[in-house]
């Protein structure tokens, strides 16, 4: 016969306090309190203060129109928006290739290599990254040496202080964000859909067009928005690689604060950047549709 072990009483104290599987409202509030305080102090308050500052003294509306009429800030705004749009497209395109390969490859070493490639920019300081690219693009740098060695060009190209350099630098910094955002979308595409489409007669391009594209469209739009938003706030890269001739809004705001002591003007510039960012995000999220958001959250 099977022997039944006698149940020994548990050692230690026996608690009789009632317990519920979910924490009560007081516990929850206490746990959340530090975060709530931080959000109010460091996010909500500055946001409101920007608009308050922009309206303080003088003619409030004129500060906003100044941003568009002043040739320096107008040009900076245009540069910021066009460069950031380029960055978004380039980064999402590159990130999509990397993220899709990460999702579909069967080879471990490819995955390791791609994750490393994608995440290395995360581990380097902003200055180091930009300095590395600065050296790479310099007139006597390796890229020019290669181009001249191959006979593509006769004299060094001036790659630094161009739109190309700025877009390159920002894209490099933002690539990890694009890869991570897109990967989280791509992993939701069941790979058996791809093989099923293939058996049903679809070639590789057709599989991408008829199965993958409709399924990831929303996620790609969200990634574009994310990269665009991160890009319009860039400060170091446009200065180091773009020089002072093609400043971003962040540079202009910096000058307004530290050179001109025009705090309300700086606040107005920041507010306009903020509104543009908000409009872009709202538009893209509307395009992407609520379904995509619910799936990502």
């Amino acid at each position: 016969m099977a022997t039944v072990e006698t149940v020994r009483p548990a050692k230690g104290r026996v608690r009789a306090r009632p317990w519920r599987p979910e924490a009560g409202p007081v516990t929850g509030l206490l746990l959340a309190a530090p975060m709530l305080v931080a959000i109010v102090l460091f996010v909500a308050f500055p946001l409101v203060q920007v608009f308050v500052d922009a309206s303080s003294g003088g003619v409030p509306v004129q500060r906003y129109t100044d941003v568009f009429t002043n040739p320096v800030s107008r040009r900076a705004l245009a540069t910021t928006l066009t460069d950031s749009a380029l960055v978004a497209v380039v980064t999402v395109a590159l990130g999509a290739v990397i993220a899709w390969t990460l999702h579909t490859t069967a080879r471990r070493w490819v995955r390791v290599l791609l994750w490393t490639t994608a995440l290395v920019p995360f581990w380097m300081g902003m200055i180091i990254k930009n300095y590395a690219i600065y050296l790479l693009l310099a007139a006597n740098g390796p890229l020019n040496a290669l181009l001249m060695g191959l006979g593509v060009v006769d004299s060094p190209l001036s790659l630094l202080y161009t739109k190309f350099a700025v877009v390159y630098g920002i894209s490099y910094s933002l690539l990890p964000y694009a890869v991570l955002a897109l990967y989280s979308v791509f992993v939701q595409v069941d790979r058996s859909l791809l093989s099923s489409a293939a058996v049903l007669g679809a070639g590789r391009a057709q599989v991408l067009a008829t199965v993958v594209a409709p399924l990831v469209r929303g996620g790609v739009l969200v990634a574009l928005a994310l990269i665009f938003l991160l890009s319009i706030g860039f400060y170091v890269t446009p200065i180091m690689l773009g020089g002072l001739q093609t400043p971003f809004m962040a540079t202009v705001i910096n000058q307004q604060v530290f050179s001109l002591y025009d705090f309300p003007g700086a606040a107005a510039s920041a507010a306009i950047l903020l509104v543009i960012a908000f409009v872009v995000v709202a538009t893209i999220l509307a395009l992407a549709g609520g379904k995509t958001l619910r799936r990502m959250l």
């Binding site: 016969m1 099977a2 069941d190 058996s192 859909l193 093989s195 099923s196 489409a197 293939a198 058996v199 049903l200 007669g201 679809a202 070639g203 057709q206 008829t210 199965v211 409709p214 399924l215």
Partner: protein
């Protein structure tokens, strides 16, 4: 029933027409093998499948059955050998050009397309004209009893309906063969039974050749005309389903497919050309004419062929119940026996109403094997 031949001419760009060419097999695998580096996943499989046959490829996980199917589908390139579909060598063709249909375990329906658009997908890829696509889709939906669901999205369907969509999608363009990869693997038992019947009906009505991969011997038994038993990348057996069940050729087939007890025995005599073996000191007549006297063999006895309180002491063993499972109409017992030189555990299946059924673990019982139900099976352990 004749819709398979009603294929529009313009659709026959890839491959020969669907009507089976005379004298050719629907599927022919010739020395088909696959290795990943030093690992051999499938080793030289030869198989010829008749038109309209349903072949179950049965095996435990890691037996190579899925790799075999992937090679036929075109997802894996074979390391050796060739694959012929309707006589055409498709070994180096893309999956898209092989003209096959496939149903996989999660059905892989396109989540962004309606049921009708899912079924239409293969026809669009084959550039059927719009009107013929619509006709064909309507026909397939009707035959798979999905007409009312054409506008639904896959996630709005039940598991059974999803499977019917997957089958309709795979058969819409009249593929040369249909591959099914564990289509019932993730389902509960009650639903499974319904879907087994559905697949049976589809096979009958569409007269399609089907390669059906599964690890479930009951599915294989119910559906298949023939069973290919895979083990360690090799074809361990290939036989009509009843033949394989009642007369398993090897110990592995007896254990895996017939669920038989494998009992060590020794040949002691021959009666009318058949072996009489000794098990635990008792003798038993078998159905096999094999082996020199005195050699150790393995006898396969299915659980239903174990009887309690045999009338003849000559083949009664003494045992003890070590486990008892109530299965509804029947009760499964594990009986441990031991003797001077042998010991073992046999599993036996008895009607729940059988007289003298042991009621508890630990009871002593007398049991034996029904004469002429034991088979001597060659040990195939060394084929590893």
């Amino acid at each position: 029933m004749n819709t398979i031949e009603e294929r529009p001419q313009q659709a026959s760009t890839a491959g020969p027409p669907t009507a089976p060419p005379a004298g050719r097999h629907a599927v022919e695998l010739i020395g088909l093998g696959k290795s990943y580096g030093p690992e051999t996943a499938v080793a030289g499989v030869d198989l010829a499948v008749e038109h309209g046959e349903l072949i179950a490829i049965l095996g435990a996980s890691g037996s190579g059955k899925s790799t075999l199917l992937k090679m036929v589908a075109g997802f894996e390139g074979p390391s050796r050998g060739r694959i012929l579909l309707h006589g055409q060598d498709v070994s180096s063709l893309s999956p898209a050009d092989r003209e096959i249909g496939m149903v996989v375990q999660n059905y892989a329906l396109f989540p962004h397309l309606s049921v009708a658009r899912n079924v239409e997908y293969g026809l669009r890829m084959r550039k059927w004209p719009k009107r013929e696509r619509a006709e064909r889709v309507a026909e397939m939906l009707e035959r798979m009893r999905l007409s009312a669901l054409g506008d639904r999205l896959p996630r709005q369907l039940s598991g059974g309906q999803q499977q019917r969509v997957a089958i309709a999608r795979a058969l819409a363009y009249s593929p040369r063969i249909m591959l099914m990869d564990e289509p019932l693997g993730a389902l509960d038992k009650a639903l499974k039974q319904d879907l087994v019947e559905e697949i049976h009906r589809v096979h009958r009505e569409f007269a399609t050749t089907i390669l059906y991969v599964t690890h479930d011997r009951e599915e294989a038994m119910t559906l298949a005309d023939r069973v290919v038993l895979m083990r360690d990348g090799r074809m361990a057996a290939c036989a009509p389903v009843e033949e394989l069940y009642l007369r398993p050729p090897t110990a592995y087939a007896a254990g895996f497919f017939s669920g038989a007890n494998l009992v060590p025995a020794r040949v002691v005599d021959r009666v009318e050309g058949r072996a009489r073996v000794e098990i635990g000191g008792r003798t038993l007549d078998t159905t096999c004419p094999v082996d020199p006297l005195g050699s150790p063999v393995t006898a396969a006895v299915r659980p239903v062929c174990v009887v309690l309180d045999p009338p003849d002491d000559a083949w009664a063993l003494e045992g003890e119940v070590t486990d008892r499972l109530f299965l509804g109409d029947s009760v499964q017992l594990k009986l441990a026996y031991s003797d001077a030189d042998t010991s073992g555990v046999v599993s036996c299946l008895l009607p729940a109403t059988a007289p003298g059924l042991p009621g508890a673990v630990g009871e002593k019982v007398r049991f034996g094997f029904t004469p002429d139900t034991a088979r001597i099976v060659p040990d195939d352990q060394e084929t590893r």
